[in-house]
């Protein structure tokens, strides 16, 4: 029992550290592709410390509630995803719960966005919803493919099933590729970072966030990165113990980063068309194959 309580506390911290590490690493790697020395790895931490000390202008209660809600959603989500050995609440919840909790973060942002009377934010939120619509379809198909293949909805069984022999990626290559193709959309990085496009709509939903709100959103973004990649590793790469799990996450993250570095931003309609065209078909075919065999 005590181990469960400790792991409930430890897992979010680990997720936070890994999230910040990934953020710092992403800025460093992208900088190296730009042929320059990027900022130190600990730069996101410095940014958060600075933002906490900055004066934050709030637009009323609902505005604050929205930000806290989205952060809370991400933290809970972290608890449901097994990270190597530690899986505090994973046994009680399963993939359906995760899908449901995935929606809390955009909801929180929408809530606070509505309060701030800035047109950019409303456009940002509409884009976020459309993008979510865009990548939910292939995401669900690939999850269904995994569930039907292993005939279970609980993540822990899926991970246990993969321990014994080959990982799921060799059985279900198509859903894995589909999931990987929409990973940038879920993370909100370059080809799909329409939501927070600084050039077009002045960093989208984060327009009104000053000091502490921005710190909370960065933390929420760090959690979000951890969640998506950990989910991918659990579903398709059968996360082993702590170290191998981290290495797999690192590899997946770096591959996603390369896509980010070399592609311009798509328009929202192109993004959705792209998400529905290739990844959706692959995931569907993978689902059918999983069904037949």
């Amino acid at each position: 029992m005590i181990i469960k309580v400790i792991s409930i506390i430890v897992l979010p911290l680990i997720a936070l550290i890994i999230g910040f590490f990934f953020l710092g690493l992403s800025r460093k790697v992208i900088a190296r592709i730009h042929r320059r020395y990027g900022p130190p790895i600990s730069q996101p931490l410095i940014d958060v410390i600075k933002l906490i000390n900055q004066e934050s202008i709030s637009h009323g209660k609902l505005f604050d509630m929205g930000v806290i809600l989205s952060l809370a959603g991400s933290v809970i989500l972290v608890l449901f995803i097994p990270f190597g050995g530690i899986a505090p609440l994973a046994t009680s919840g399963d993939l359906l719960v995760i899908i449901y909790l995935m929606l809390l973060a955009p909801l929180g942002v929408a809530l606070s966005g509505g309060e701030a009377a800035n047109p950019n934010v409303s456009i940002g939120i509409s884009r976020k919803m459309m993008l979510a619509l865009g990548y939910e379809v292939p995401f669900l198909f690939s999850l269904l493919a995994v569930m039907t293949w292993y005939k279970t909805t609980s993540l822990v069984e899926v991970v246990k099933a993969q321990q014994s022999f080959l990982w799921a990626i060799f059985y279900l290559p198509l859903p894995a590729v589909a999931y990987f193709m929409i990973l940038p959309a879920m993370l909100g990085i370059r080809p799909f970072d329409i939501v927070s496009a600084p050039q077009e709509i002045a960093s989208g939903t984060a327009v009104e966030y000053g000091g502490r709100y921005l710190a909370l959103t960065t933390i929420q973004h760090a959690f979000h990165i951890f969640i998506d990649i950990a989910l991918f590793v659990n579903l398709f790469l059968g996360g082993g113990n702590l170290l191998t799990f981290f290495v797999k996450m690192l590899v997946v993250f770096l591959l996603g980063l390369f896509i980010n570095a070399v592609f311009p931003r798509l328009r929202i309609d192109q993004a959705i068309k792209y998400c529905w065209k290739w990844p959706a078909i692959l995931a569907l075919v993978g689902l059918i194959i999983a069904r037949i065999i």
Partner: protein, 622 residues
């Protein structure tokens, strides 16, 4: 690398991943505070100014499009006549680092350095009095003590000169418009005027060179309005430029030819290039207009019944007469020579100052109503006492008329310079020998030598003739102007500087030559004229004629004893005058060579101007 531009391949999805190769290459960033970038040799940063070369002319302040440069008075620099003690101060809240001030700077003292960092939270620190590492030791640090982190206007790197001015690309024209002159071979044969004067375009071209920095006006003893009359010539309005000259100088034709041109020594263009030919432009202005009276139409003021006597019609006398006449006084001028001009009439030979130009100026002053009494030497034809009695004020402008003699053994055989010049110019020509030796190193000596050379060529057209000069002073301290010495050398006159006359050798009452001894030093430590010689080193110069031109002295013989006793003198044997030219005798004023030390025409005119003020005050005052 130059494949054809039509490689418009189908845009691929996987192509861009080639960019990942840079992940493993060395980044190109220049990590600034730790790796420094070497600024280029022509970098345009903050200003450096070499204070000894800078003349404070203010051209950089005039050219600056943003009025960033202001001239600031610097008390500790002593203001010489040709240089102001102002230095440019640059306001970096206005400066656009264009470097125009560097290109216009005549002495080339203003330069831009290669450091350009100055960050401060107070805007008042953005003014910089441009200095150089020679003057400002503590702000300029050697390379090891200089650190980029503390970079500011007060913390700059030593010898860090960037954009500096080059004569080829300067905004001013360094070379002078060449004056058409008669060639040396031709001019030594006759007395034709050497300088032929500018044509209209040449004068406009030369006048366009003046940057109007007004340094020349401070240097000129008479403070002529030089930049105005040069601009008038540029806008080809010679009458307007003449009017500007006549405000300070009534005898432009004379001054245009023989002035010592202090202005050209002070001209800031002269520091690196050739100065603006101010004297020749004044001469051009006076030559262009034949009849001053018609163009200037100067009308004297309401006539006052006071009478003023002017003794000596030299430049000083003529100017006093002109100024007082304009103020309305009735002026009479006494001169022993047949015409006006005093020393100018007899001194400079015709190739430098022809008689017509003297008469042109004098006749204009006469036309204003000044009465001239020529051929009347005071003390002989008319006594000084009755002048003193029946004239309300007297101006002494008698100048130096007595030529000194070296009083060396049988020096009575030698000619004196002034007589020699006087006879040649207005009397009959003097019979000269084949080899002439001229003793002396000043302008008068050079005139005598060149005139003697011309006479030799006229009187012995084919034979070989030589003129030699012997002067105590060596090349560097020879008092004659550099220009004169060059012209004389071009005409073939031999110079023997640094030799003193010892004895004139005589054989059967004909001069055989001059025995000279080597000079050790000319001036003693208080710069007084006390020559010392090496007794043993001697040299014998063959020559059948000797002319002494070692300086002139005043002749006060015509003043009666009791008045002469009241006159006070300065230690250097000059008349002591107040700044209005009033001598110790209240009624008597004085000016010209007998008062000042420059011994040239323009200083005489300056004294005359002040004396005219003095006389006016004296007559109105009490």
């Amino acid at each position: 690398m130059k494949e054809k531009s039509k490689v418009n391949g189908k845009p691929s999805l996987l192509g861009p991943f080639k960019a990942i190769k840079y992940l493993f290459k060395k980044p190109v960033t220049l990590r600034y505070p730790f790796e420094l970038k070497e600024p280029s040799l022509r970098c345009r940063g903050f200003h450096l100014n070499d204070w000894d070369k800078c003349t404070g002319c203010g051209n950089c302040a005039d050219i600056c499009p943003n009025e960033a440069v202001t001239m600031v008075e610097i008390p500790e620099i002593e203001a010489k006549p040709g240089e102001k003690n102002e230095r440019p101060q640059i306001d970096y809240g206005r400066c656009c680092f264009c470097g125009l001030c560097v290109d216009i700077c005549p002495p080339g003292s203003l330069r831009l350095s290669r450091d350009y960092f100055h960050i401060h939270f107070k805007t008042s620190t953005f003014n910089l009095l441009a200095k150089d590492e020679k003057i400002d030791k503590e702000h300029f640090l050697p390379a090891d003590k200089y650190s980029v982190f503390k970079a500011s206007l007060a913390h700059r790197k030593k010898d860090n000169e960037g954009f500096s001015s080059e004569l080829k690309y300067s905004l001013f024209e360094p070379k002078r418009v060449s004056m058409p002159q008669v060639k040396p071979e031709e001019r030594k044969l006759s007395f034709v005027e050497q300088v032929l004067g500018y044509s209209k375009e040449e004068a406009k071209q030369e006048a366009s060179r003046c940057l109007e920095c007004k340094l020349c006006e401070d240097a000129c003893p008479a403070h002529l309005k030089i930049s105005d009359y040069v601009r008038a010539i540029y806008e080809d309005k010679p009458d307007e430029s003449l009017r500007k000259i006549f405000e300070d100088n009534p005898i432009p034709a004379i001054c245009g030819r023989i002035c010592m041109a202090h202005c050209e020594d002070a001209c800031s263009l002269g520091k690196r290039g050739e100065p603006v030919a101010v004297r020749w432009l004044k001469r051009y202005a006076s030559d262009m207009i034949e009849d001053y009276k018609k163009t200037l139409r100067l009308k004297p003021a309401k006539s006052i019944d006071k009478k003023v006597a002017v003794i000596g019609a030299g430049p000083g006398g003529l100017s006093v007469a002109y100024f007082l006449r304009l103020k309305g006084y009735t002026v009479t001028v006494f001169d022993s020579l047949p015409g006006g001009g005093g020393m100018m009439r007899i001194g400079p030979p015709p190739y430098r100052l022809p008689i017509e130009s003297i008469d042109k100026d004098v006749s204009h002053i006469a036309s204003l109503g000044v009465k001239f009494r020529f051929n009347t030497t005071v003390g002989k034809d008319i006594l000084f006492e009755d002048i003193y009695k029946n004239y309300d004020a007297i101006h002494l402008g008698i100048g130096m008329t007595v030529s000194h003699s070296t009083r060396v053994k049988n020096s009575e055989k030698a000619y004196l310079a002034l007589q020699f010049l006087q006879e040649n110019k207005i009397g009959k020509k003097v019979k000269v020998g084949k080899e002439i030796i001229v003793i002396g190193g000043g302008n008068v000596a050079i005139d005598v030598a060149r005139e003697a050379l011309r006479l030799q060529h006229i009187q012995y057209p084919e034979e070989k003739v030589i003129t030699k000069t012997v002067s105590l002073e060596d090349w560097d301290i020879m008092p004659a102007t550099k220009e004169e010495i060059e012209d004389a050398k071009a005409e073939g006159i031999q110079f023997n500087p640094g030799w003193g006359p010892k004895e004139i050798k005589i054989e059967d009452s004909k001069v055989k030559g001059l025995l000279c001894i080597k000079v050790k030093s000319v001036f003693d430590e208080q710069r007084r004229f006390r020559p010392t010689f090496y007794e043993e080193k001697e040299m014998f110069l063959k020559g059948d004629m000797v002319i002494e031109a070692i300086g002139q002295g005043p002749n006060f013989s015509f003043i009666p004893k009791e008045l002469f006793k009241k006159l006070e003198f300065t230690p250097r044997r000059k008349i002591k005058v107040t700044e209005f030219g009033q001598t110790s005798i209240p009624k008597v004023f004085a000016g010209g060579d007998i008062v000042n030390l420059n011994l040239d025409a323009i200083t005489a005119i300056a004294d005359a101007k002040r004396a005219a003020e003095g006389i006016d005050l004296y007559l109105k005052g009490n």
